[in-house]
């Protein structure tokens, strides 16, 4: 910034330099001093005012900065004699951008360009403003003016890209492309093109209009030489030819690509597709989500005759054989995998032979089976086999493996591939085997890992060890054994295996992810969170990886940790949204036009991110939960979120948005393939256990509903507080003013909320009156309990100020809904407290529900009580005068007193139960965990792998495994792991207990207030 001095607004550089220097070195007070001095001499200078605004903004004085910047703008507009230099404008632009008023910056530049229409510098600034505002049409108009003025190719392309953006990201119709094409054509005729990126834009404009022939002509003409990376040009030509339906020519092009790069797998798929005249791969590209491309190439049934098909396949086979012979590099896998793909195509045509396909895979295994990627290379081919054939193939692979003689690292690699094939691809096989067989293979894998540790003893600790995957597979199978047997010992064993692996090398992210989910399952969320942190998930990785921990944290009492997860993620996303346009402008500036559309589309994708939208709703809800024990604080929070109005807007808009899912689900463990699914919570099913079914459409629908519903909460909480206080005022001032709009709005929101419960408002009220029964049948389950209770809280609050519902009996007893709400809260909280299992190795879902009950409906109800009391209890000043309010609403007073009493007892029950869980000494608990793994030789059940583990540690020698590994393992203790598991779980319970205690304290203080009346 310090370089931007100039002679702005007639002020000499030496006067301004100290200000910029001070800003650059963040000495804002000093900067302000300088600027004030300068302002005394130039009180009306827009530039000095803009500088002052900038300093004030940096000092955090937003309102002052805003006022000063507006004065600067006014002065700029009012005084025609002042020069409109870019430095003044760009300084103002910075201030307005930081104040989130891009529109004002644009106005300044528009004004300046109006005054000096031919000044390129100003037009550039204006164009930049429109880029920041995503005003594609105005961008286009400005760029074309610049082009006319300067005649430079760059500005024409800016205009063309702005048109393209209107079509792809705005409301512009395809017709606009004709205009873009025309502009380019005319320019090319007179000036040709000079930038490769300009050509790429031209081609893509033509391609989008399906003018493939024209595009090809340009590409093969003189302009084609602009593309300096030859393979890029060939790929472009191949694609255009295929899209134009000229498969023969396209196949020739891909043939060329493969000759120069035989390992280009995509090139091969395109080649084969073109030979077989199947363009589905191109169509897929257009319809598939680029972030989750399919693993398999879908193929159309070929329209070729049998003879044609056979002849094309033999052409492909011959070519691939030639590539195999010509390739000397042993690491080139492409042509060998291609043989299998050709066989698969035969198979799909109904002309395949299972044995040939199997042989292809077996040969590939012999050549590349030792590589970590073997399984993912061949997984697509397993799809064509029946279960029996899969088993046959597995047998064949095992047999051939026995005959291969390879160095130890390769032998290990081959065995791992076999285990992976068995575990990941031949799942049916696993399920048919007895638990004992599965356990035996688990032990084998673990032993193999231990046996091969010496191979890695000389490796740098930063390098991956040989056989690392064996531990992930072992623990995956142990988890499966838990699912089968419900014996929690297997889960503990899985944890031990992974912790053991991480003590040998602490960088294995795959282990960490598995552990994180296992600790979550135990309820030791604080440990899970520690492992998550050790993954160092930051920046864009948060978008793809946060799903591993966020959903569990959202229902946990670890509010500080949750808050920082939410804050970091939102900051990352919002920073990106703020700076993305500037980076887009950088692409304009550097003439990398193809990146412009990419950047705009990417920002749009992130703005529609499902996780981002969930986080935007959950963040205020967390704040409301955290502050619910003090109504004044809560009101402050609500004020800062405009009383929930913005979230109502989100709720209204979400239905029409199309959400994007950017999570990397591939990295999730098999038992929880999506956030919503956890197989371990359900019964063991003898089916393929990781279907990885990702039904995006269904997820989108349900998530949208969830966001729509949750974003009603802040407003409903706000209105409930208002409604409660209104009800008291009503009692006091019978003829006073009431605010029906609060009551009415709350009713409308209740109507909306009841729809999420599957009922109309009146039906839902009946259900509440029947204590969550619809006739004989209960309507609540664990999944909708919180919603029903929240609804009842808001219903109760509405009922207090509304005259519509059966009004509380004015003479005796407690208001009906209030009464029901208290009993429901008591019932469900105590029910869940009772089912908190005594064993600490139990899953945490009950605690999660309990936690939600206390921190949501009970907390919101607490706010209603606080609001009522605040309105009816005399404040100290008016004590004498208005002392009668509490009595005047006697049945309400009665309800409040009873409620406070009842909820206190409930919370005491929760706290007591938690403290009983916590009372057991840690060692006793961790011994309990370890005892799950210690067994007699003949007993079935968990512990076999653990036994091997302990034996290995006690018998390993320094010479065998090397110093580093030896010492790490010697200092590692399973008892420490057990203890960590326990403390992790206790930490969560303690945090929950603290929340309950804070609520109890609130209720006690309310009791005291009531007693003083």
């Amino acid at each position: 910034m310090a370089s931007k001095f100039g002679f702005a607004g007639g002020i000499p550089e030496r006067k301004v330099r100290p200000i910029w220097d001070a800003i650059d070195s963040r000495q804002f007070k000093n900067a302000l001093k300088h600027v004030t001095t300068l302002l005394a001499k130039h009180p009306n200078s827009p530039y000095v005012l803009a500088l002052k605004a900038l300093v004030l903004e940096r000092m955090g004085k937003i309102d002052d900065a805003s006022a000063v910047s507006l004065t600067a703008k006014e002065n700029l507009f009012s005084n025609d004699l002042l020069s409109m230099d870019d430095l003044t404008l760009s300084t103002l632009q910075i201030v307005f951008q930081r104040l989130d008023r891009l529109d004002l910056a644009t106005e300044c530049y528009e004004h300046a360009c109006g005054k000096f229409p031919n000044k390129m510098e100003l037009m550039m600034g204006l164009f930049n403003c429109y880029v920041r505002e995503y005003s594609f049409v105005k961008q286009q108009q400005t760029a074309i003016k610049m082009y006319k003025l300067a005649g430079e190719e760059k500005y024409l392309l800016w205009s063309v890209c702005s048109i393209h953006l209107q079509v792809l990201c705005g409301n512009g119709g395809d017709k606009l492309l004709v205009l873009a094409e025309g502009l380019l054509k005319k320019h090319v005729a007179s000036h040709s093109l000079h930038e490769p990126e300009a050509l790429m834009v031209y081609i893509s404009i033509l391609e989008q209009q399906a003018k493939f022939g024209d595009a090809l002509e340009i590409l093969s003409g003189k302009l084609g030489s602009l593309l300096t990376i030859n393979v890029d040009k060939l790929r472009m030509q191949g694609r255009l030819l295929a899209l134009a339906g000229d498969y023969t020519a396209a196949a020739d092009i891909f043939h060329k690509i493969l000759e120069s790069c035989p390992d280009d797998w995509e090139g091969f798929l395109h080649y084969l597709g073109c030979l077989l005249e199947d363009g589905s791969i191109w169509c897929d590209e257009a319809v598939n989500d680029p972030v989750h491309p399919p693993k398999f190439v879908s193929c159309k049934v070929s329209h070729l005759t049998d003879e044609q098909f056979d002849s094309r396949i033999s052409i492909a086979s011959a070519f691939i054989r030639k590539l195999q012979t010509d390739t000397v590099d042993n690491s080139v896998r492409g042509p060998y995998l291609a043989t299998i793909e050709i066989e698969r195509r035969r198979h799909l045509r109904g002309k395949g032979n299972d044995n040939n396909l199997m042989d292809g895979i077996v040969q590939y295994f012999c050549r590349f089976g030792h590589l970590g990627c073997f399984t993912s290379d061949v997984e697509m081919f397993f799809e064509v086999f029946t279960t029996d054939k899969k088993a046959e193939l597995s047998e064949k692979l095992m047999k051939i493996n026995d005959t291969l003689s390879t160095p130890p690292t390769k032998t290990l690699g081959l065995s791992i591939s076999l285990f992976k094939i068995k575990q990941q691809l031949l799942l049916g096989d696993m399920f048919n085997s007895s638990a004992n067989d599965v356990e035996v293979s688990c032990v084998q894998m673990f032993e193999m890992y231990c046996k091969n540790i010496p191979l890695s003893k000389d490796l740098d600790p930063q390098e991956s060890m040989h056989g690392e995957e064996l531990l992930s597979i072992t623990s995956n199978i142990l988890v499966q054994l838990f699912w089968r047997t419900k014996n929690v010992g297997y889960l503990v064993e899985a944890v031990m295996v992974l912790e053991f692996g991480l003590s040998i090398r602490r960088y294995v992210s795959q282990y960490k992810i598995l552990l994180l989910h296992l600790y979550c399952h135990f309820g030791a969320l604080s440990v899970a969170h520690e492992w998550y942190k050790s993954l160092d998930v930051k920046n864009i990785l948060m978008e793809s990886m946060l799903h591993h921990i966020l959903p569990q944290m959202l229902v946990s009492p670890l509010w500080t940790e949750l808050n920082s997860l939410l804050k970091d993620y939102l900051k990352f996303m919002d920073d990106h949204f703020r700076e993305s346009a500037d980076l887009t402008f950088l692409a304009y500036h550097h003439k990398n036009y193809s990146k412009i559309i990419e950047f705009v589309q990417f920002k749009d994708r992130l703005q529609r991110s499902s996780q981002y939208l969930v986080t935007r709703v959950e963040t205020p809800i967390l704040q409301l939960k955290q502050n619910a024990d003090n109504i004044e604080d809560e009101e402050g929070i609500l004020q800062s979120m405009k009383c929930g109005v913005d979230f109502l807007e989100l709720s209204n808009e979400i239905g029409s948005k199309s959400l994007t899912f950017n999570e990397d689900l591939e990295s999730r463990p098999w038992w929880t393939p999506t956030v919503e699914k956890n197989y371990l919570l359900g019964p063991f099913q003898g089916i393929s256990y990781c279907p990885k079914e990702i039904l995006t459409k269904e997820r989108e629908t349900s998530l949208k509903r969830e966001i729509e519903k949750k974003s009603l909460l802040p407003r409903m909480i706000y209105l409930s507080i208002q409604s409660a206080s209104l009800s008291i005022k009503e009692h006091v001032e019978v003829n006073g003013s009431v605010k029906p709009d609060i009551t009415l709005e709350l009713k409308l929101l209740l109507e909306r909320f009841s729809q999420f419960l599957g009922f109309s408002l009146s039906e839902a009220i009946e259900v509440v009156k029947g204590s969550f029964s619809n006739g004989e049948r209960s309507v609540v389950s664990d999944s909708n309990l919180i919603d029903w209770l929240n609804f009842t809280v808001f219903l109760n609050a509405w009922n207090l100020s509304s005259r519509e519902l059966v009004h509380p009996d004015r003479n005796e007893g407690r208001p009906i809904i209030w009464n029901i709400l208290d009993s429901l809260l008591e019932r469900y909280i105590l029910e869940n407290v009772r089912s908190m299992e005594p064993q600490l190795c139990s899953p945490c879902s009950k605690v999660q529900l309990l936690m939600q009950l206390v921190t949501e409906p009970l907390a919101w109800h607490g706010l209603v009580i606080q609001s009522c009391l605040r309105s009816c209890l005399p404040s100290s000043k008016k004590k004498k005068k208005s002392g009668s309010a509490y009595q005047s609403s006697s049945n309400l007073a009665h309800a409040i007193t009873e409620s406070v009493q009842q909820l206190s007892l409930v919370l005491e029950g929760v706290i007591k139960q938690i403290s009983e869980s916590n009372r057991r000494p840690e060692d006793e608990n961790s011994d309990g965990i370890l005892s799950l793994l210690r067994k007699d030789e003949h007993n079935d059940g968990p512990g076999r792998v653990f036994h091997v583990l302990e034996t290995f540690i006690s018998s390993m020698s320094n010479a065998e495994v090397g110093d580093r590994i030896y010492h790490s393992l010697k200092s590692w203790s399973p008892a420490d792991v057990a203890r960590k598991m326990m403390t992790g779980k206790l930490k969560v319970l303690t945090a929950f207990s603290a929340i309950c205690e804070s609520k109890l304290k609130l209720l006690q203080s309310l009791k005291q207030q009531i007693a003083q009346v």
Binding site: T228, I229, D232, D263, D264, W265, E266, V291, P293, P294, K295, F296, D329, S331, V332, G334, L337, L371, G372, C373, S376, D377, E379, M380, D460, Q462, E463, S464, Y507, S509, L535, D536, V537, K538, N539, I540, L541, E543, S544, M545, F572, D575, H576, S580, L583, T584, L586, A587, H590, N592, S594, K595, E598, F599, F602, R605, N662, D664, E666, S667
Partner: protein
């Protein structure tokens, strides 16, 4: 089995298997986007069958006069695809572009002095340690500036090792 193509924004959402590696830095968005906006030909990705991401390289070209050079900012390969010479392929690509398209004099890169496996690999690819940069990494660990001369540097002047180490503020470029 590698299709090497230009890196694009959407790949940022797909490269977790590569970036979870503890030695691979996940930069902030403006860093990636600046590279994409300025040097798209220096940011390439290797993709394998099943659309799996195997690894990527990001770099830039900068400098003046005889210091005009290609720079490797990051090169990384996912665990499943290691020991297949993929890093070499990616490095060769960047060297080719620096050499043939941008006519640079050399390619350079920085590596942690403690990262012995990487140093060994770069040496195999023809890089030499040009100089040591004291406390280059977060003011703690030293970095090594490694270079490989390209065809334009006929006398290989750019890779004659410096005799003394330098400090980060003595570096010509960020």
């Amino acid at each position: 089995m590698t299709t090497i193509r230009r890196f694009c924004c959407n790949d940022l959402l797909r490269f977790t298997n590569v970036n979870l590696d503890h030695l691979t830095e996940t930069f902030n968005m403006s860093f990636y986007m600046t590279y994409l906006a300025r040097w798209p030909d220096y940011f390439h990705l290797a993709q394998g069958p099943g659309n799996h991401i195997m690894g990527y390289i990001m770099g830039k070209v900068e400098g003046q006069g005889e210091s005009w050079h290609g720079h490797v900012t990051a090169v990384t390969v996912a665990p499943d695809y290691r020991r297949q010479q993929l890093a070499k392929k990616l490095m060769n690509l960047l060297e080719d572009i620096s050499d043939n398209i941008d006519k640079a004099y050399f390619v350079d890169l920085f590596v942690r002095a403690s990262n012995a496996p990487a140093i060994k690999m770069y040496e195999k690819l023809g890089y030499v340690i040009y100089r040591r940069v004291l406390r280059y990494y977060s003011g703690e660990e030293d970095g090594l500036d490694m270079r490989k001369a390209l065809s334009r540097d006929v006398d290989k002047k750019s890779v004659i090792p410096l005799k003394r180490p330098v400090t980060p503020d003595e570096l010509e470029y960020d």
